[in-house]
């Protein structure tokens, strides 16, 4: 059943929530708005019913296996949400005095410390609001570092071709030039190329390790040596931290600055697109440049570190201190894991990925790097099936939905044709993984026996396959009531 738009429920002059007063504001007519504000006018029941029904049209971790590579879709414990929503935490004004915030500040301080331990960094700032903003903070710190040394010419950021799009986009936002390095056949970085480009213009390199290919970069120490020798710094994109938690430290690998996606490794919810948190960690030499505010402990009292105290800080990245409620959820999760729990994260994330990879390979699928150990994710290439049957990675993705599985990441990283990037995470059971393998095998069989049917998928979703070209060619981005005439959106 199609759910209408909330605006289509509307009748004039009605509202769900009953507000307190009908008074008129104490303002001159000339400043007031005179047009009709197009908000829904539905009853509370209609609103509740509408959004409850819409929610049911989503796949989610709470309802489906969701092996979306690079996204670490692990279980989000309900208690993390419950505790972040304690009334005192929800009611705390961000500019409230620290006297009314010691409980909250202590929690943030301890979170900073736990993240330092987990990454081998000397200091952490929690303020970035997602991975990409963490990257921004990191590259801005790298630039500030070079500037502080009068080394202004360094404006190149090196990124592997397998990098996530946020890496090059961040470099540009920071005013840097992007230098792309290819990946070798074996999945590691082309180190000769790196040697060739590293030099006096090098501000730094952005790497994720394991890479977005699901492979641990084995030459990491050599890479670090090359970059450092050239005078550059190493940035660690922590999106894949789930693979190495408790096994190795970015700090030990030679990284100078790192962001962590707490909404991946530390299980804060993705919320259908956000919010996240991209906390950044740095080694000693970048400490003066950390974005403010962060929490410090002075004589047993927790306070905010300010720009006055850290005049070299790159400054603020949000009006207050980032996604505070997300940070609370990450803290609760980390405390519930404790040391052994954290170490197990990578054990089982990696076990699940390798098991799933082996099962798929044994079921006849082509794995992109069969000679390599998978990290927490791995790539299947459907190139041959696509060639032989016309059924593509996208078709597989859609067909999986009909089997009750969310699709893996498709067509990323860009260098493997017809690829699926598959990340099961540690919180899925063997039962889920086996079910996924069975579905993949059935789709493959159908691709050979009846490819047209596969290309029709999905059949069980609220809509059939959507026309993306139409969407982009005739953008309809905002609803217009029939009366208000032609769409403008």
């Amino acid at each position: 059943m199609t759910e209408p738009l909330i605006f289509e429920y509307s009748s004039a002059s009605r509202q769900g929530f009953v507000a307190d007063s009908d008074a008129r504001p104490n303002l001159l007519a000339e400043v007031l708005r005179t047009d009709e504000l197009m908000l829904p006018s539905a009853s509370e029941l209609e609103v509740v019913r509408h959004y409850t029904r819409l929610s049911q049209q989503n796949f989610s971790i709470d309802t489906q296996f969701y092996p979306l590579g690079s996204c670490t879709m692990k279980y989000n414990p309900r208690v993390c949400n419950r505790l972040a929503m304690l009334p005192q935490f929800l009611g705390r004004h961000p500019l409230g005095p620290v006297e009314h915030g010691q409980g909250y500040l202590q929690t943030m301080f301890e979170l900073q410390e736990m993240l330092q331990v987990a990454t081998g960094m000397a200091a952490v700032s929690l303020t970035p609001m997602a991975g990409a903003q963490g990257e921004f903070a990191g590259v801005a710190m790298i630039r500030a570092y070079h500037e502080s040394r009068g080394d202004e010419a360094r404006n190149q950021i090196i990124v592997p071709d397998a990098a996530h799009g946020t890496n090059p986009a961040t470099a540009t936002m920071c005013g840097c030039e992007v230098v792309e390095i290819p990946t070798r056949e074996d999945g590691d970085l082309d180190i000769d190329r790196l040697r060739a480009v590293a030099g006096s213009n090098t501000a730094g390199i952005m790497l994720t390790n394991p890479s977005t290919l699901g492979l641990f970069e084995r030459q990491i120490e050599e890479i670090a040596a090359i970059i450092h020798a050239a005078g550059g710094l190493l940035y660690y994109d922590g999106a894949n931290l789930n693979a190495i938690l408790g096994k190795t430290l970015p700090g030990d690998m030679g990284f100078d600055v790192i962001h962590m996606n707490l909404h991946k490794t530390f299980s804060t919810p993705h919320g259908g697109g956000g919010p996240g948190s991209g906390a950044v960690g740095v080694t000693e030499r970048l400490k003066p440049f950390l974005p403010v505010p962060f929490v410090q402990k002075v004589d047993g009292r927790y306070t905010w570190a300010t720009e006055e105290q850290y005049p070299q800080s790159i400054g603020r990245l949000s009006a207050f201190m980032g996604n505070a409620g997300v940070l609370l959820r990450a803290y609760v999760y980390m405390r519930m894991l404790g040391r052994t729990g954290m170490e197990r994260v990578s054990d089982f994330a990696v076990l699940n990925a390798n098991y799933l990879m082996v099962c798929l390979r044994e079921a006849g699928f082509e794995v992109a790097f069969p000679e390599r150990r998978a990290s927490h994710e791995f790539i299947v290439s459907l190139k041959q099936i696509a060639r032989e049957t016309g059924v593509t990675a996208m078709d597989f993705a859609k067909a999986l939905l009909d089997y009750g599985f969310h699709a893996p990441t498709t067509y990323f990283p860009l260098l493997v044709p017809e690829c699926l990037l598959i990340e099961p995470t540690e919180s899925e059971s063997r039962r889920s993984l086996d079910g996924f393998v069975a579905a993949m095998a059935k789709i493959r069989d159908a691709a050979y026996s009846d490819p047209d049917t596969v290309k029709q998928a999905p059949l069980t979703m609220p809509v059939r396959r959507l026309d993306d070209v139409h969407a982009a060619k005739q953008p309809d981005l905002v609803w217009q009531s029939a009366e208000s005439g032609q769409r403008k959106g």
């Binding site: 504001p25 708005r33 006018s41 993306d468």
Partner: protein, 453 residues
Amino acid sequence: MPFVPHTESDISTMLSRVGVAALGELFDEIPAGLRIKGLEGIGPALSEAEITQLMQMRARHDGEPLCFIGAGAYDHYVPAAVWDIATRGEFYSAYTPYQAEASQGTLQVIYEFQTMLASLTGLEVSNASLYDGATAFAEACLMAVRANRKNRSRNILVPRTLSPAYREVARVMLKGQRIELVELPMRDGISDLKTLDNLSAGDFAAVAIQNPNFLGSLDHVDVLTDWAHSGGALVIGVANPMALALLKPPGQWGAAGADIACGEGQPMGIPMSSGGPYFGFLVCRQAVIRQMPGRIVGRTVDLEGKPGFTLTLQAREQHIRRSRATSNICTNQGLVATAATIYMSLLGAPGLRSVATSCNANTSALVEALIALPGVTRSFAAPFFHEAVLAFDRPVAGVLDALSSNGILGGYDLSADYPELGNALLVCATEMRSAADISAYADTAREILGAAA
């Protein structure tokens, strides 16, 4: 094992299928010298009951003081339905809606969100949210510089009355691209129009206008908009969506309206929560949509012609355009935007108007009550929405401390951001502050001021 479902037998079956003897072997590609023994320094696990007790204790310790601070985050009532629905697992634990057919819930919500924001701001197209109001302002500046084809200026004219935090975040975010913020001075709490005479709009990619501004006052939005447009500068309107329930929206400022509107979405059903997660909104004219950063949802049709929703215009985004994207933003504030959509649906236009009106009335009452005290006066005569500046005869910090020990957060001390205003305090009373709350503030302040005098 918390959050890991494997049994001993699962583990041994899986290890042998993978062909390794122990879990440790799975990490054999990590150079031996980099392997660590584990996370010494992380404490033992707490049970759910234990962490619950710990967090409840900390929360109780922070208490629930009576809040008269605004300054960018506002204590509005949030109906129970808002977060009850937003935190349903299907919204809460979904990813970005890349598989549109399995994400119609999230996508339709965001399409509705975009429609509501367009209507509130009086503009044409909205994105699906940015991180917060401050970053939305910075992105609006970047967008304006890219979009302004008339002049090639990399300067933005920004009033001193615009939120100091927004100006600071924009400075940080624009620095790498060598875009400068030029300050428009203030007078009597609003932009000093006289200073425009010494400026040429053509020197700026855009002129920013915040209304109500950081000091709570309503500014000369029409004059400023027309001045900017006359010189070929774009106009970025910064607005509080709660105020837009009452005030002329950016899209209607001056003769042509602002080109871009942005701001902090927190007043739309989002708890103050120590500052986040909130969401930034960014809305613009159709003409500049290709310069818009962030995700956008569009309505389209499926292969049977049935309407459906999908992410669209992705060629602007980093995962397609990479280093030439309009922004690096990827994860945004989807769940918070979902909550805001539910909030706006529940209240509707009349509900929102009524809350906004109460805020206006309560702040007026608070101002009246406080200026009745000896040594307290209003700093400015300009009309205000729900915040106002009061001048004290002594440093505000001490007064705030004394109020705070009485469980009252008396406002935001302006002395660091605006030393030129002297002992100035920015106060706010939302619809949540009852007449009794306001009297409690005034009575306590009277005692404090009397005692210290």
